[in-house]
Amino acid sequence: MVLTRKRVLPTAMLDSLSPLIAALRADGYSVIGPTLRDGAIVLAELTSASDLPHGWGVELDAGSYRVRRRDDDAAFGHSSGAQSWKTYLHPAKVPFWTAQKTSDGFTVDVPPPDGIRYAFVGVRPCDLRAIAIQGRVLGSSYAARLESAFIVAVDCTEPGEACFCVTAGGGPACGPGADIQLTETVGPRYLASAQTTIGQAVLDTLPQQPATPAEREQGATAVAQAAERMQRHLPSIDLRDLLSGSRNAARWDEVAQRCLACGNCTMVCPTCFCTSVRDTTDLGGDIAQRWQTWDSCFDLDFSYLHGGPVRTSTSSRYRQWLSHKLGTWHDQFGESGCVGCGRCIVWCPAGIDLTEEVSALAQERQTDHE
């Protein structure tokens, strides 16, 4: 995957995604995309376009997720499920190295890379941004996995009820980062454009017709309408400033009454990257392994210092999470850590909605200033 400077307009119309998936599989990629499983849309290996959740949409609300039948056959007529691509690019458990005791010390060996090359099909604009955001946080092993991945992104034509990508600064059209970009149109048929040279090489092999001006227009309209149907939004104020000025806000205590500190929001968030290292030794004590595992700032031990954790109260941990996402991420990485995918809202068992929390903080500050 290579970033391109400028979005290339759709050039081709595809009647089916099966040839694309077949071509990627033939190239040795493990093709991952959305599929329907146990009443939810999950990410899994795809063998053909029939694995895509054709005709399924979702009904979302704070703390609630349900799939529903659509009245068309769209494959991408649903918004993001609980998983994001970090499952593959920044896996939940990674072996760092193995140390083996020797007569006078130990040796350390790094396991060989798994060699899997992923092709992601159906990456949403919000998730495309999230992939790039994690890339600006994480180091060389993430970069290597991303570099070898092939990305087929799809413009959003159907925002979920929890989405707010537009006021989070992105979507619903794809930004940079994809190899091939799709817009799903009625049928479903797919407007396609290659954004990189490897994307072009793959696209060139697929059965296609040239996209007509009318079809392009239809695609562009569907994307523009998606922007207008966005139901949630972030207040249009300087959020970094709001959050750094709200460290002592009463709202943190209020939200802490509802937050269970379960960490679901951090697990489903496509940009949350925090990890811990875990050391294991074999029974004989001669082999020690070091693992990296996902961790969450909601975990009490996350901020542990000799003597006890720094952030003991739930309010301090929720403050840490929200302030990092929307505020201090700017200080650390020069951008926001939220792409507005809405997952944290949907998968919070308490139905806590970060857009509502931010608005309440903005309100509180305004009241304080009056």
């Binding site: 350390v108 460290r247 996350f302 000799h306 952030r311 840490q320 201090t328």
Partner: protein
Amino acid sequence: MMPSLFRVVHRRVETHDTVTLALAPASEPLTPPAPGQFHMLYAFGIGEIPVSVSATEDAGIQLHTIRAVGAVSRALCQAMPGTMLGVRGPFGKGWRVPAQGGKNLLIVAGGIGLAPLRPVIREAIRRREQYGNVAVAIGARSPGEQLYTAEYREWRDAGLKVLTTVDQAPGGWGGHVGLVTQLLPGLVTSPAATVAMLCGPEAMMRVTARALADQGMAAPSIQVSLERNMQCGIGECGHCQLGPLLVCRSGPVTGYEVAEPLFAVKEL
């Protein structure tokens, strides 16, 4: 995330719970650390923790002074000469020691906080003529817990003012008893020409920095070394967050102008 292999070449017991290990590279040496930087030290099969460099010597040898407070620090403290350890680093931003200009240096340490400041003290002695007054104020819990006492004479002989205090003392201790802040009056004669470097428990740094600011020192001339849980040292694990900072990357040493508003917030 691969550690380099080092071997303990010398182990010195400093106090009942603190030792200094001299580590020599078993293969390639690491980049020489700057004063105030830290390494991640790995004890086989136990774990890895951040530890400041307390001195450097020739041949890539690094000294680390470690206080046993838990599993990893205890294992490190028990490492005898010959033991192999893993080392990553050096990490973080260290002390901004003024290179010239005849500045006065004020070094204030609490407990194990003296360890990351010892390289500054040694540097100040090496380039003594480039500084005005150099004062070191050291607080420890009890006389038996003072670090590097054997070196104080050498520091004084080099023209440094070395003041010590303890929180509590048994009979026979003729020195000062009380907080390290009580040593400060008189140490800052010209606030504008002084650079202060503080390391110790957060509460100690908070009151000391406040006291120095009250004596007219500008916040950026007061440097503090911050402490947070650290698992990677390279800005990737997220554990060392403190407001806008990833302490492992933009710290551990920061100016008081950055630290003051962060010190003021509970559980940040």
